[in-house]
């Protein structure tokens, strides 16, 4: 797989680091990692950065992950970029809402690097 540019959106800086570490542990080579602590920050980050993959929490202040997914559809740099939700919210209704809004994958916390790898391969359509 080519090196990828990832946007990681989570209000916890610790969780952003864990997600990045899981990607690396899963064998994903990262060219660049952009971080945002809520959906609004992520929309701004997308104005200035081109990324290949977005990993996004749901429960965040200012703008939650579901609203970010909806609004990102109008951002040029987000068009065609797969979004994978990573969240403690495990209910079917949350999964349906996320996928309906445009997310391409859904990972429940706690998660293993293997689960992250499986979703990344699935949404990027490439083998690691």
């Amino acid at each position: 797989m080519d090196k990828i540019r990832a946007l990681i959106v989570d209000d916890s800086s610790v969780m952003r680091k864990i997600v990045e570490r899981s990607l690396r542990q899963a064998g994903v080579e990262l060219e660049k990692v952009v971080e945002a602590s809520n959906g609004a920050e992520a929309l701004v980050a997308l104005q200035h950065n081109v990324v290949d993959l977005i990993l996004c929490d749901i429960n965040m202040p200012v703008m939650d992950g579901l609203e970010f997914v909806r609004q990102s559809a109008t951002v040029e740099n987000a068009k065609g970029v797969p979004i994978v939700m990573i969240t403690t919210e495990g209910s079917e209704s949350h999964v349906v809402q996320a996928l309906s809004a445009g997310a391409r994958g859904y990972i429940r916390k706690p998660f293993t690097p293997e689960q992250v790898k499986e979703h990344v391969v699935s949404v990027l359509g490439k083998k690691l």
Partner: protein, 144 residues
């Protein structure tokens, strides 16, 4: 196995990389220098807390983040996220509850001189686990 213990063990094994087992609270009273808490509202109404001493909190954060020493803010962040994942994992295991139970953002208290009181007046479930020989207490207090 009780659902709370199962939820705690899974989260520690996956996110902290450590197997923990329940022990008798009377033999291992935790020194609660850190308490992380998550509020529950809806089908379940109450609070879930995770408490441990400062050294254990730092070691948990170090394990979660891959072996680096962390600032106090990161230690609190790590403990809050751990508590959040335990609460989420717990409610995901209760059939029919997950759809109708919301979680608050985590809050973490640290220091040597505080008392913790919950106004939840219903049932209470607690489990104490040993993490690197130090007790970690997880309590769920529900409103009746």
């Amino acid at each position: 196995m009780p659902v709370l213990e199962l939820a705690v063990e899974e989260v520690f094994e996956i996110m902290v990389g450590c197997r923990v087992k329940p022990v008798a609270q009377t033999e291992h009273p935790p020194n609660e220098e850190y308490t992380a808490m998550i509020g529950l509202a809806g089908a379940l109404c109450g609070i879930l807390t995770l408490s441990c001493n400062a050294q254990t909190a730092r070691q948990i954060a170090r394990s979660m983040l891959g072996g680096t020493d962390n600032a106090d803010t990161e230690v609190a962040d790590a403990l809050g996220e751990l508590c959040n994942m335990i609460a989420g994992n717990f409610k995901n295991k209760l059939a029919g509850t997950d759809e109708r139970c919301m979680l608050s953002v985590p809050t973490v208290i640290s220091g040597g001189e505080y008392s913790f009181h919950s106004l939840a007046d219903g049932c209470s479930v607690a489990t104490v686990l040993l993490f690197e020989d130090a007790p970690v207490a997880v309590r769920l207090q529900l409103q009746s």
